[in-house]
């Protein structure tokens, strides 16, 4: 299906312009060849000849005082080069930047361990095998302390994770929009429910890796690593080391084996390897193993307990919403992660509601720290909201489809401002919902939902159901709001537009002597095909072939401290930057040609990869190679461009920006209808078919768009049904191998019936909206609603994510017991 779509797109382009346009076509990726042949060099592949290797000793206790660390036996091992403890690094370096004020976290546990897997000692040895031998020789004496695991309980402060901070509630805020109190008072009904969202995360197939090399002569560091957002979060490394940004060069390889947000928080490893490298004056390599990654790799994501309320009138009009939740941050508030605020950008999802309250407690517990993950706190919010709508429909006796339809934002209301001040750019949500409803209707007529089949299956204990829902994917991150928690709250009131940090994306390019183009991304990438996208876009701007354009990367020192890959940002930001850069380069080249010909700039024009003289005088042209040869000192064959973040160009966003409320200028959306079958005997959920109509504005490369949707939905399915970082009551993590953290395999992913519409964004240069987080954002909520539909006759709700077979069986037994 998708491949036909891309052929069509290419053909259309041809007839339209008589020439192939690459943007909008499903061009296959330029990244693939090196990966397929095993030539790609991921961070795990980098190993300088003389590199030593690091291994970490990690706490086995969730909460314990470190009474003594005896390293003598380890140091006696002939393959051991260095043993580092907190004491060693405190003498020379700084604590790691924290996500909230008032915390001092060192790269190794300092006096107290606060979660299982927290690094306590680093050893550096000849190779990883020996390093692990050496780790076994380190003797740590612990005094165990009581621990706190349950986030609601943590609020009671019976066990406090950070004594000097005094409470486990790291932060708390209540945001009120409109007048929810009156609405709750006046409305005909108030429905109140609780839902929970378990710890899940991206679990990229490639773990973290670092090769750090200290240079004695220049007193500086070269650090190769697979950190995400390397130009933004490089401060987590240079500040910890206590060096200037110019002296700590982070370089990320062109191929990174997945991140999905998670790898922004791997700075601890970078710092430790760098410290060891300085001490030993040799390169030091660290490759995190999977068990380390799962239990103490600082890469778990959102875990939330929600108490939510909705006020409705008899006719089903939603009057107000009220969200309260506790978010379990784990043992430390991890810089730069703060996922509690982003849901404000989609506070009411696709519903037209203007009164709402949003309140949260951010708590600390004896668990692994939180990092970012695809969707950045939004998936759990949409889940809680959609569950609440289902429960409200049941309470009011209204058909849930009808309740949703009645409250959806209409196309004519676009652009639509949410009570929380973010703005949806464009889209027709009711039409999208109607479309998937139609697909479902077709299934009722002899298909998967044929009443006879459904009835027959039910007799076998298999309950089928589907419930269409619409979801917004807020796109194009700007980071200015993410440190709201670290800003003076009162000061926020005084803040105005001038105080808002700009968040552009940088791109540069140069014409090489052979006439080909070399472009440089200021961001890192982990499989999204950015090189392909930029080569497509620039090829169109310059009238050359994508194969004439090579795309490389800038390291943290060379690249401006700009933003990078986050929150479905790159399609919009890179396409805007490529367009701007192309125009800049073209005008440069025209100037250069005019200088060469000694004529007026109006007498030349750029056309199809050459500058042509148009002032009569024949068919004179200068090719890109010829122009490159002309370029002495003028630098006119080079250009760089910063594409401004769309919100900074639009007054409508000023209020949100200046109050540090999350702004996302694009609203990609999806209407989903997964048909599920729940086996009430085993509790297994079988997704028979997944209908999804998706819209991410202009599709720059439909193949990549489709790939993102498939991948996102697979993660959404895993999150909804099987993945979880559980903990037992004593604080021991329950998922420390991939046998326990159950990633979906090919057998778990159903047939996806994807369709796409294109509603270009009026706010972005190319109309693109971004699409990197979609399926993970909308998958879990839509599956939960379909499970609700299937289990309606039994009165069972998918009130806990993941809704695993044992939980389903438990709930069924519960309601049976109640009868």
């Amino acid at each position: 299906m998708s491949s036909h779509a891309r052929t069509d797109a290419a053909e259309e382009g041809e007839t339209e312009t008589k020439k192939e346009r690459f943007t909008g076509s499903g061009m296959a990726r330029v990244e693939d060849h090196r990966i397929l042949t095993g030539e790609a060099e991921y961070i795990h592949d980098k190993a300088p000849e003389d590199s030593l290797h690091m291994a970490l000793l990690r706490s086995v206790h969730p909460h314990a005082d470190i009474v003594d660390i005896d390293t003598s036996e380890a140091e006696d091992h002939p393959g051991c080069h260095l043993v580092l403890t907190a004491e060693d690094i405190k003498a020379e370096y700084n604590p790691m930047p924290a996500g909230l004020e008032g915390f001092e976290e060192w790269s190794l546990a300092d006096g107290r361990a606060r979660y299982v897997g927290e690094p306590v000692v680093a050893v550096i040895a000849d190779d990883r095998y020996v390093a692990e031998d050496v780790v076994d020789l380190v003797n740590v004496k612990y005094d165990q302390l009581d621990c706190v695991v349950d986030p609601r309980e943590a609020r009671e402060d019976e066990v406090v994770v950070h004594e000097e901070f005094g409470t486990n509630v790291g932060d708390h805020e209540e945001l009120v929009f409109g007048d929810p109190d009156s609405a709750f008072e006046e409305a005909d009904h108030v429905i109140e429910k609780s839902y929970s969202w378990g710890r899940i995360s991206g679990v990229p197939l490639e773990t973290a890796g670092v090769v750090a090399q200290y240079d004695d002569d220049t007193d500086s560091f070269d650090i190769d690593c697979n950190i995400q957002l390397h130009t933004l979060v490089d401060d987590t490394v240079y500040e910890t080391l206590g060096y200037d940004p110019d002296d700590v060069n982070l370089d990320v390889p062109p191929d990174v084996g997945g991140s999905f947000g998670t790898k922004i928080a791997i700075h601890r490893y970078c710092c430790l390897a760098a410290m060891a490298s300085k001490e030993l004056n040799k390169p030091v390599t660290f490759v995190e193993d999977r068990i380390e990654n799962l239990q103490g790799g600082d890469m778990h994501s959102t875990e939330r307990e929600y108490d939510v309320k909705v006020a409705l009138d008899d006719d089903g009009t939603i009057r107000a919403l009220d969200f309260w939740f506790v978010d379990d941050f784990g043992a430390w508030p991890r810089y730069p992660v703060n996922q509690v605020l982003k849901p404000l950008s989609v506070l009411t999802n696709a519903f037209d509601v203007q009164d709402a309250r949003y309140e949260y407690d951010l708590v600390l517990t004896n668990k692994t720290c939180q990092t970012a993950y695809r969707g950045f706190g939004v998936p759990s919010h949409l889940y809680a909201l959609e569950m609440l709508v289902d429960d409200a429909a049941e309470a009011l006796g209204i058909d849930p489809d009808e309740l949703r339809r009645r409250n959806l934002i209409e196309a004519h209301q676009m652009p639509y401002q949410l009570p929380s001040k973010n703005i949806y750019d464009s889209g027709d949500f009711p039409a999208a919902l109607a479309h998937v409803q139609q697909r479902i209707e077709e299934e009722r007529d002899g298909g998967l939902l044929d009443p006879e089949t459904v009835e027959q299956k039910r007799e076998e204990g298999k309950y089928r159901g589907v419930r269409p829902t619409v979801h917004i994917e807020p796109g194009v991150s700007g980071s200015d709001w993410t440190d709201r928690q670290r800003s003076d709250r009162e000061g926020l009131e005084e803040r105005n537009r001038e105080d808002v940090a700009e968040l552009p994306e940088h791109l540069r390019a140069e014409i090489r002597p052979d006439g080909t183009v070399k472009a440089y991304l200021a961001t890192d990438t982990s499989g999204q095909g950015h090189q392909t996208l930029v080569s497509q876009l620039l090829a169109d701007e310059l009238g050359v072939l994508p194969s004439d354009i090579e795309v490389g990367y800038l390291d943290s020192e060379t690249a401006p401290t700009e933003y990078g890959t986050a929150a479905s940002r790159m399609a919009v930001m890179l396409s805007g930057a490529a367009q701007g850069l192309g125009k800049e380069l073209v005008s440069n080249l025209e100037r250069l040609a005019a200088e060469t010909w000694d004529c007026d700039e109006d007498d030349v024009t750029y056309r199809d990869g050459a500058v042509v003289r148009v002032d009569g005088g024949g068919e004179e042209t200068l090719s890109l190679a010829e122009l490159a040869a002309q370029d002495d000192e003028s630098g006119l064959t080079r250009a760089s461009y910063d594409y401004e973040h769309p919100t900074t160009q639009l007054e409508q966003f000023d209020e949100a920006l200046s109050k540090k409320l999350p702004v996302y200028p694009t609203a990609a959306f999806a209407a989903n209808a997964p048909i599920v079958e729940v086996d009430t005997k085993t509790g297994e959920v079988d997704i028979l078919k997944f209908y999804s109509l998706r819209d991410c504005g202009t599709q720059l490369n439909p193949t990549i768009v489709e790939g993102q949707a498939h991948g996102g939905l697979a993660q959404g399915i895993g999150a909804a049904l099987q993945e979880e970082f559980g903990y037992d009551e004593s604080g021991q993590p329950q998922a420390i191998t991939l046998f326990d953290y159950k990633l979906p395999s090919i057998e778990h992913i159903p047939e996806l019936e994807l369709e796409h519409t294109e509603t270009p964004s009026p706010f972005t240069a190319t109309g693109a909206k971004g699409t990197g987080e979609g399926g993970m954002i909308d998958g879990p909520a839509s599956l939960a609603c379909s499970i609700n539909a299937a289990l309606e006759p039994l009165g069972v709700r998918a009130d806990q994510i993941p809704f695993t077979p044992n939980r389903i069986r438990e709930r069924i037994r519960q309601v049976e017991g109640e009868e």
Binding site: L36, E75, H81, L205, G258, G707, L738, I749
Partner: protein, 178 residues
């Protein structure tokens, strides 16, 4: 800080092995505890062999040993003594991609690509044994490999496309090729 200048290593026992890797004979001295994955990656510089979990679940390290897919992270190098090992590096001939590699490219069956070598090798075992696999056979053949990025549909399509192509009678719409 406590640095130790004495370099050198403990007495580490080794064994001699000889095997064929991608058609070439190799002899080496390895520690009995040395994993085949590490041996291939580090000693033989075949970095296309990836390690994602090192405990046998993800399949990123899949190579063929005497034609059978094995997880090289669960195999010791000494166990490969006398066998024929094939890795992803051995597939492309004179720069031309193997049909399986080509199909992965055309179907966009890779994103970050970290799982890809493993999937390609698992697909090779599958198609060598069963050139015309059913949907179920493909699912079974790839069920031991995890991909975190693609959602599998494209991988599945790639295997079927490769099967068509390797069969000689392509039913694939040629126009679809980029």
């Amino acid at each position: 800080m406590s640095a130790d200048d004495t370099s050198g290593s403990l007495d580490r026992p080794t064994e001699d092995i000889s095997l064929s890797i991608n058609g070439e004979s190799v002899s080496a001295e390895v520690e009995p505890r040395h994993k085949l994955s590490d041996f291939l990656r580090d000693a033989q510089d075949l970095r296309g062999v990836r390690v994602g979990c090192e405990h046998g679940v993800c399949g990123a390290c899949t190579v063929l040993m005497d034609g059978q897919a094995v997880k090289s992270c669960l195999t010791y190098a000494v166990q490969a003594d006398g066998t024929e090992i094939e890795t992803v590096e051995g597939l492309a001939e004179d720069g031309a991609l193997h049909p399986i590699q080509e199909a992965f490219h055309e179907e966009h069956a890779l994103q970050c690509g970290f799982c890809t070598s493993g999937f390609v090798m698992a697909s090779k075992e599958l198609l060598d044994e069963n050139p015309d696999p059913s949907k179920e056979a493909v699912e079974k053949g790839l069920a031991d490999n995890i991909c975190r990025c693609t959602g599998y549909q494209n991988i599945y399509d790639a295997v079927l496309r490769a099967a068509d192509r390797m069969d000689g009678e392509s039913t694939v719409d040629e126009e679809e090729e980029a």
